[in-house]
């Protein structure tokens, strides 16, 4: 049960949020131009890292906003939280 700092609401309990998988996977602008393999890569392939991972989270029981989280999956340490459309902070 970790604590996430929502960029809009502040520190809240993990139970208020829902996880939305890997971050920074952009939906192709012209899907019809892609080969089956390229489309499948966008659709299905996700990283599952033990360690620092870029993730999407949604403040589902709060402001309902989506945002990005950099989390170490091995110990749940959150290194950064930043809004959608922003670049991950450089460390």
């Amino acid at each position: 049960m970790f604590i996430i700092t929502c960029p809009f609401c502040g520190e809240r309990d993990q139970s208020e949020f829902s996880a939305g998988g890997e971050a920074h996977i952009v939906r192709p602008k012209q899907p019809t131009e892609l080969s089956d393999d390229e489309w499948a890569d966008f659709l299905f392939m996700r990283k599952n890292i033990k360690g620092v991972q870029f993730e999407r989270w949604n403040h589902a029981h709060g402001c309902r906003k989506w945002f990005n989280v950099i989390r170490d999956t091995s110990n749940d340490k959150i290194h950064a939280v930043y809004k959608m459309g922003e670049k991950p902070p450089q460390k």
């Binding site: 939305g20 899907p31 019809t32 659709l43 949604n58 309902r64 749940d76 340490k77």
Partner: protein, 1001 residues
């Protein structure tokens, strides 16, 4: 057993409050403040249970949560009874009833004891090896036999009548453990301005120091127990400190989130408890955590070390110094370190006969000198090779240890005793530290695992951090707390400590014996009956990982989670394998630290509070009219309305006929409703639905199908264009929340440039759906000002209207295939709307119908239900709904996936209709469909998704998904059931009014 073993009065018990209780049906007395264990010991009762596997007699061994043997069933009647309670923790109360758990038919005479004599054939892994095969004997023979003789306690057979609660708690500093270091930490923390919470699992603070009787342990020239008692009194006046007694920490999760169980009633008699809370689960979020959970004493591993009367030395000391109870009249102390000498001196001071056997060669500490001066006989460099006594220890045999420590030499000496106090050193309680993600380090000098790196803002202090002597504990507790809490000075800075002990101990995990290991019984895990030779056998059979050895030998797998056994198991493994103990790691410590009742875990979330129930504004009407309800997600939906003694089938047939013959009314309030606004609303709908939306006129409705990005059908519903930039979308009842969050996801992350705003309005509107040939007449009566002719108000259009001055939205849309209207009104008027519809429809026999009839009517029309006829693997093409997939649109969610090689396969499972050869035979939903029954292995083509007897067609109809179904139209297939095979023919899936003539009737 009439002898009174209460030797002296102590201030910890209330001697004016004598309490009677029953144990195994016999009446005993104790005092307020006694635990069940101390009260039994004061009556001379040691034998308390039988061991799990061999049914050997076992007695009380400890005085705390690590107790492996004294596990009892509490409570006489079937709803208050609780198994697996540790007698060492249960406080006695007037009328307490307790009984031995692991013994049938009685603790004195036990048929399972026979296992003791056949134990050579019950080695490690016995359960795995023997009961594996033949499999069919498992249910009939093995499991009942094991359960019968294992006697793991009885669960209550009735609903728990007691109340449990959950509470949240936030604090700056949480101190876990109320021993001397916890008391000092809580004091420093609150003095430093922190909101502090101190929790302790006992009824009063003070740990083991509070009953330290030895004058040689001094703090500031006071007896340590006196000094501590004063400090505890001072705590009561601290303003920002909360102390919680009888509260044990169950779990320590990351980010300093902790769960603690506060026991409010288990020490009270049933009369005193009336309607009060029994236990409370605290959900604690602390900024900083100080663990002061202490250490537990280790047993020593020697032959027959499990007899009743063999106890841990510090526990014997607590029984005499705290409870005033002597555990025997002739005591022997068996030790490898100084701390057991405290027990010896305590007993000696009270005039109780005591002898010491020490595996060390010598010790020069003041404590040992004092023991010698008191005239206590000490056997140095000796070990116990055997013990005698079946129901209670009677004597021990000792021999000298050889120089290298691996053997015994010389003659056996026989010593008579009725109590044996054992001390193998101390194990820091690092369970909670590791639960929180902390990593351990190993200290070679005394073979202990200690906290090393913590994952959250916390420290461990006192003996759980490896400080076992009073001087170290106090010095390090003060300096660690000052650092941790950034305080420059404390009240404790000038404290002076005297400690007469020496730190040297000698460690032999498995003590040597004159007999070969195979001929001895050195128990490791007393609760699960695993011995040192089981661990060695497991290793001979190839097990190396501690986690594997643990499971194979069941060492450490009882309700005590191996609090006593784990270190010795590790030690023996590392010795046998010839590796350093620190390199083996430990088994994983999982929550809960001590067992929790189910009541505490669920709290108030029982019965009606188990889950949220959503009810429509018309719910009362349905209830008053005898509706049966079905759960759809959290919603209660009217299922059908039986009249008189109608069966469900009869009611649904009547409702279905009425809806098509004259008029029916359905509560559709549960459908998800999303209000969509913004200048890009049309473009947004274009992207999320498969069909085109730009050209939908204001005041028109359109059915839409929503896919997942993988091309599979996700949701469907009718969306109405209320205005230029304003739509009202409806979703399926179950999909409402998911659709909204999916749409929000796309808007916020993929298309932030779109000007679109989504609001859920499901709860804001109530919806009554009136259908049937007379629906128009009923609507005319309700809304006299609205023109209902087909030119002015055609199918798939909407109008605003007023009912008694209240705004309504009327959509002319249909899920039944009948001419029909959905009237939406503000929720609070829902019931009144419904009643007015019923009144206006009286003349036309308007018939309320539930979800079952709705499903039947739409199945006659071949309309799908997402989630029933689809399962996340169906594309619109599979559903033969090609007509709704726009070819012109460049993109929409899931479009690209419809052109993947897999989704374009022609032999995918496809939606078809099925007609049974016997029109009266109704298929079972979920039934499998095959083409050739004889073929082995039988090939499944698909399954029935919806199936009804249609009263309007007077025959059975079904929808099914069948591989290559589109091409199988007209063909015969088979549905094999348990007792027969049903012949079916693949058909069109629109069974009724395929030309849609009734929509405008």
């Amino acid at each position: 057993m009439s002898e009174n073993f209460r030797s002296l009065e102590t201030k910890f018990l209330d001697k004016t409050n004598r309490i009677s209780f029953k144990y195994n049906g016999k009446k005993y007395y104790g005092y307020k403040g006694d635990t069940l264990a101390s009260a039994l010991l004061s009556n001379g009762v040691h034998l308390i249970g039988r061991s799990f596997k061999y049914h050997r007699p076992r007695g009380i061994m400890t005085c705390g949560s690590e107790e492996p043997n004294a596990i009892v069933q509490i409570g006489g009647n079937s709803s208050f009874t609780e198994p697996n309670v540790r007698a060492t923790e249960q406080e006695i109360y007037e009328g307490l009833e307790a009984s031995s758990q692991n013994c049938w038919p009685s603790v004195e005479f036990d048929v399972g004891g026979i296992n003791n004599f056949i134990s050579p054939i019950i080695p490690a892994g016995f359960y795995y090896k023997t009961f594996m095969w033949p499999k069919k004997l498992w249910y009939s023979l093995y499991e009942p036999a094991i359960r019968m003789s294992a006697g793991l306690g009885k669960s209550p057979t009735q609903t728990d009548p007691e109340l449990y609660d959950h509470n949240h708690l936030h604090c700056d500093v949480l101190v876990v453990g109320g021993g001397i270091s916890g008391v000092i930490a809580a004091s420093i923390s609150s003095d430093n301005g922190n909101n502090t919470v101190l929790i302790d699992d006992k009824s009063s603070l003070g740990g083991t120091t509070i009953f330290q009787d030895d004058e040689n342990f001094k703090i500031n020239d006071e007896k340590s127990s006196v000094w501590l008692n004063n400090k505890i009194k001072e705590l009561e006046n601290k303003k920002n400190l909360i102390i919680k007694h009888r509260t044990s920490l169950a779990a320590y999760h990351n980010y300093n989130y902790l769960l603690a169980r506060e026991n409010l009633a288990d020490h009270k008699s049933l009369n005193e408890r009336s309607n009060k809370l029994r236990q409370r689960l605290w959900k604690i979020r602390a900024k900083k955590v100080i663990l002061a959970t202490g250490a537990i004493e280790r047993p020593l591993i020697f032959n027959n070390n499990d007899r009743p009367g063999i106890m841990l030395a510090n526990s014997v000391k607590k029984y005499i110094d705290y409870f005033g109870v002597r555990c025997g009249n002739k005591n022997i102390i068996f030790t490898n370190n100084d701390s057991a000498y405290e027990t010896a001196i305590s007993l000696n001071k009270k005039g109780i006969n005591v002898t010491i056997v020490d595996i060390r060669n010598s010790s020069s500490s003041m404590l040992v000198k004092n023991a010698k001066n008191a005239g206590i006989k000490i056997y140095w460099n000796h070990t116990i090779v055997d013990t005698k006594g079946y129901r209670r220890i009677k004597s021990i045999q000792i021999m000298e240890i050889s120089e290298d420590g691996t053997n015994v030499i010389g003659d056996k000496i026989n010593l008579v005793c009725d109590n044996l106090s054992v001390s193998g050193g101390w194990t820091p309680m690092v369970h909670l530290f590791t639960q929180s993600g902390g990593k351990l380090k190993f200290r070679d000098s005394d073979q202990v695992f200690l906290p090393n790196t913590a994952m959250s803002d916390q420290i461990s202090i006192g003996s759980c951090n490896g400080d076992f002597e009073l001087d170290d504990i106090i010095k390090n507790t003060i300096s660690d707390c000052k650092n941790f809490l950034s305080s420059s000075t404390t009240d404790f800075d000038l404290v002076k400590v005297n400690c007469p002990k020496q730190k040297e101990s000698k460690n032999i995990w498995l003590l040597p014996n004159d007999k070969p290991l195979g001929k001895t019984k050195p128990f490791l895990d007393f609760q699960n009956d695993s011995t040192a030779k089981d661990v060695k056998l497991a290793m001979r059979e190839g097990f190396r990982s501690i986690e594997h050895v643990k499971r194979y030998t069941t060492t450490g797998m009882g309700t005590d989670q191996g609090k006593l056994a784990n270190m010795h198991a590790l030690g023996i493994i590392s010795e046998t394998a010839g590796v350093k103990m620190g390199s083996l790691g430990t088994t994983t410590f999982r929550p809960p630290y001590t067992p929790l009742t189910f009541g505490t875990i669920v709290g108030r979330n029982v019965g009606a509070f188990f889950d949220i129930t959503r009810k429509t504004p018309m719910h009362d009407w349905h209830e008053n009219n005898k509706a049966k309800f079905e759960n759809v997600g959290q919603w209660k939906r009217a299922w059908y309305y039986p009249k008189d003694n109608e069966s469900m089938h009869q009611a649904v047939q009547r409702e279905s006929k009425a809806a098509r013959d004259s008029a029916g009314i359905l509560d559709a309030s549960t459908l998800g409703k999303i209000d969509i606004k913004g200048t890009d609303a049309s473009e947004f709908l274009n992207r999320v639905y498969t069909n085109a939306w730009s050209k939908l006129g204001i005041g028109k409705c359109r059915y839409g199908l929503m896919l997942n990005e993988d091309g599979m059908v996700y949701d469907d519903g009718v969306t109405t264009r209320l205005d230029d930039n304003h739509y009202l979308m409806t979703t399926t009842t179950g999909g409402a929340a998911n659709v909204l969050s999916k749409l929000e996801d796309y808007l916020q992350t993929e298309w932030p440039e779109l000007d679109v705003w989504l609001t859920s309005v499901t709860d804001q509107y109530a919806t009554a759906s009136v259908c049937g040939p007379n629906s128009k007449n009923i609507l005319k009566k309700l809304f006299p000002d609205v023109e209902f002719n087909d030119e002015n108000f055609p199918h798939m259009s909407y109008k605003n209207a007023e009912m008694d001055g209240i705004n309504c939205r009327i959509m002319r849309i249909s899920f039944t295939g009948e001419h029909s209207y959905e009237i939406n009104i503000e929720s609070k008027y829902g019931k009144s709307l419904w009643e007015k519809c019923m009144e206006a429809g009286k003349k036309y026999n308007i018939t309320p119908y539930g979800t079952e009839t709705m499903h039947l009517l739409r199945a006659e029309k071949g309309f799908i239900i997402v989630g029933q006829d689809t399962d996340g693997t169906m594309t619109p093409i599979d559903l033969q709904m090609d007509w709704i997939v726009s070819k012109k649109k460049y993109d929409f969610i899931g479009k690209r996936s419809l052109y993947r090689s897999d989704t374009m396969r022609e032999d995918r499972k496809q939606l078809v209709g099925l007609l049974t050869d016997n029109p009266k035979e109704v298929l079972e939903e979920g039934a499998q469909i095959v083409q050739d029954e004889k073929k082995q292995p039988i090939e499944m083509l698909g399954h029935v998704t919806s199936s009804y007897f249609s009263p309007n067609l007077n025959k059975s109809i079904a929808l099914a998904v069948v591989r290559n179904g589109k091409k199988l139209k007209g063909q015969k297939l088979y549905v094999p059931m348990k007792d027969k095979t049903i012949n079916v023919t693949v058909s069109d899936f629109i069974f009724f009014d395929s030309k849609n003539e009734r929509l405008n009737a």
